[in-house]
Amino acid sequence: MQMKRWIRPWLFIAPALLSITLLKYYPIAQAFFMSLHEYDLVHPPGRFVGFGNYKSLLDIGFFWTSWRNTFVYLVLTLVLAFIPPIIQAVFLNEIKRFGRLFRSIYILPVVIPLSVTVILWKWIWHPDYGLANMITRYVGLGTHSWLNDLHLAKFALIFPGFLGGGIAVFIYLAAIQGIPEEIFEAATLDGAGKWRQLLRITLPNISFVIAIQLIFTVIGVLQILDLPFQMTHGGPVNSTSSVALGIYEYAEKNMDYGAATASSFMLMFVILLITVVQLLLSKEDTN
């Protein structure tokens, strides 16, 4: 009986602990182990090379290209796709009529699977039959080959995010609606108009949520994989390849599991570093 009491809590938590250990901690430890070897699938683990995989990665041009691309994705996302949901939420909060309709439309991007988005946007960007060139020609910006253009491809990949919508809008909206009504009432009594309230009350009050969203966006973009994989497979000439896509390519194309895991370890390190820095910064900010 005494023994049983002691063991019971562990029975309840066992599935969680086991699954996390087996399906998260073990694979990540395995990743580190593999990255130290010239990994051989048939006779694992193969020759031990220490940090040799890491060192040789730094000498590959593709490795640096994929990092540069990933940071360009980050900048493009922050400029193009991060801000629209904030603006959309601020104005959606003001809307009384047709609110349900607008909200339903803003939800759509959440439920449209990526494969559909890719099929659709690949066609929109198509140089001959696509919508994009039809519009740019009409407004006098000329025609481009978009996804086949070394310089425009990354822009074309991220641009759909500019249309906004999605989860972010509703997170911001909930944050705005969570601001106590009295603050706005007091401001109105003081003669502050809505524009002023937006700048002085709404935005400062949701700045914490914006900071959190920023961290998640950065973490998400650093891992960007599905989008470049489906849209362009990293082309043309690796101009859209990301770090995560590189990991897949080392493993799948070159069968170089050592390089793949070494790269994934570096990526994880950078992500953790940026997360910690951002958390510290946002903490300092709120203080």
Partner: protein, 447 residues
């Protein structure tokens, strides 16, 4: 003047006006790509390659072809039927391929004896193309000899109505031959394809309804491409959807059970210090990004023999999600202690407490967990893509992607299949929009 302008621009009414205009414009922008998707799926394989693209394609046409069999009927019913089968096959396919003009979505074939219509068969263009490329003719050249080689299969596939006494089907005799295509059709039918019946003329009708004929073809495509996989051959897209649903159901069940059990132990059964330590162990795992361990996990799953099976897709969803454990724990922590005391006095076991008190009370949390899990699985692509290669296992996302790689599939088919897979979603969104939103906002704290 300037002051007045400034007051208007900076006024509250202006703010409201800007809010409405901007929201409306942005919503419209969001809808434009979707409308383009649906309009593209309503085009045929020629209209889709028109440059510049048109949002509203010219109205789809159906071409009716009338051949007369008064002479053949004299040779007896068997010969008549044979002639009709052959001629209808020749007429349907030849029209799709000879009239190389966009906007033909349907071809109808009428066999007559005098005033009576004795035979009718009708098919959409996309259906006929499907038969031509995949189902029956295997990309053979369209000519008389090739078409007649397998006309029986085609007749079975297309279907027909035949009654020597006359059918109820009719066509507008006054418009027979009253179109620019009629002469051309007569020429190739009699000279090139040498039909037995006597060409009486053709009728061209225009209606946007014919565009819906396309969807019959889109629906058929997966069935045709994966004819060897019994389930896909039977259920087409629905099968991929069912695969996704299976993973969603499994993931939700796994997350709700595993996470809440762990949270219960952390909240009520462990000592404070131990609970803190274990929670840290669980939460720290959420910091590990998927891309960092996807390769070793892939290798591991292959070694365990889980690749190319449902388990390969399902097992990763057993991983307890730190955020959900945290959510449940936060909820359990807030429940009054008396609730548990009372249960304990009554002699209820921990299992009873968990099921009859905790799970019943924590329904709001469970709803959040379920919705978040559902959306996560719904958008999951890379892992199922890596782990299952067999078509019958593909979830919708992977299926659509793999189909989009097939160079034989015309773009209108791709757009059509994408549109088809969106339709159930659009219904879900309009019906459950509020619930979805609430669940999402919660999950958004996680990201």
């Amino acid at each position: 003047m300037r002051a007045v302008f400034k007051r208007i621009v900076s006024g509250n009414k202006m703010f409201t006006a800007v809010a409405y205009v901007l929201t409306a414009v942005w919503c419209a922008l969001l809808l434009v790509p979707l409308l383009f998707l649906f309009s593209s799926s309503m085009k045929d394989d020629l209209q889709i390659y028109e440059a510049p693209p048109k949002f509203l394609p010219s109205p789809p046409k159906s071409i009716g072809i009338v051949l007369d069999y008064t002479q053949v009927a004299a040779q007896g019913e068997a010969a008549l039927k044979e002639a009709l089968w052959q001629d209808s096959t020749l007429a349907l396919y030849s029209t799709v391929y000879e009239i190389n003009k966009s906007g033909v979505f349907q071809v109808d074939f009428y066999g007559t004896v005098g005033d009576r219509v004795i035979y009718k068969s009708s098919s959409g263009k996309s259906d006929l193309q499907m038969n031509m490329t995949y189902l029956i003719y295997d990309k053979a050249q369209v000519n008389r000899a090739n078409l007649l080689e397998k006309y029986k299969q085609s007749v079975d596939q297309v279907g027909y109505r035949f009654d020597p006494q006359g059918l109820s089907a009719s066509f507008d005799r006054s418009r027979l031959g009253d179109n620019e295509l009629s002469g051309q059709i007569g020429d190739y039918l009699t000279d090139k394809y040498k039909v037995e019946g006597v060409y009486k003329g053709s009728i061209v009708r225009e209606s946007y309804w014919f565009a819906l004929k396309n969807f019959a073809g889109y629906w058929k495509l997966p069935k045709v491409l994966f004819a060897k996989d019994e389930m896909i051959a039977r259920f087409s897209f629905l099968w991929f959807g069912a695969n996704t649903l299976l993973v969603i159901a499994f993931a939700i069940a796994a997350q709700v059970t595993i996470d809440s059990l762990a949270a219960f132990a952390l909240s009520r059964l462990f000592g404070r210090r131990m609970a803190k330590l274990l929670l840290l162990y669980i939460l720290a795992a959420t910091m590990i990004p998927f891309v960092a361990y996807m390769i070793p996990m892939y290798v591991m799953f292959q070694r365990w023999g889980l690749s190319d099976s449902y388990w390969g897709m399902l097992v990763p969803h057993l991983t307890a999600a730190g955020f959900f454990v945290y959510l449940y724990k936060g909820f359990f922590d807030k429940l009054p202690g008396e609730l548990f005391e009372a249960a304990r006095v009554d002699g209820a076991s921990e299992m009873r407490v968990y099921f009859s008190i905790l799970m019943r009370l924590s329904q709001p949390v469970t709803a959040v967990v379920a919705i978040t899990t559902m959306l996560g699985v719904w958008n999951d692509f890379f892992w199922p893509f890596l782990i299952v290669k067999k078509a019958e296992l593909w979830p919708l996302n992977v299926a659509l992607y793999n189909l989009s790689l097939n160079a034989n599939i015309k773009q209108n088919f791709l757009m059509g299949m994408a549109a088809l897979s969106l339709i159930p979603l659009l219904i879900v969104v309009t019906v459950f929009s509020d619930n979805l939103r609430k669940g999402m906002v919660f999950s958004g704290i996680k990201g």
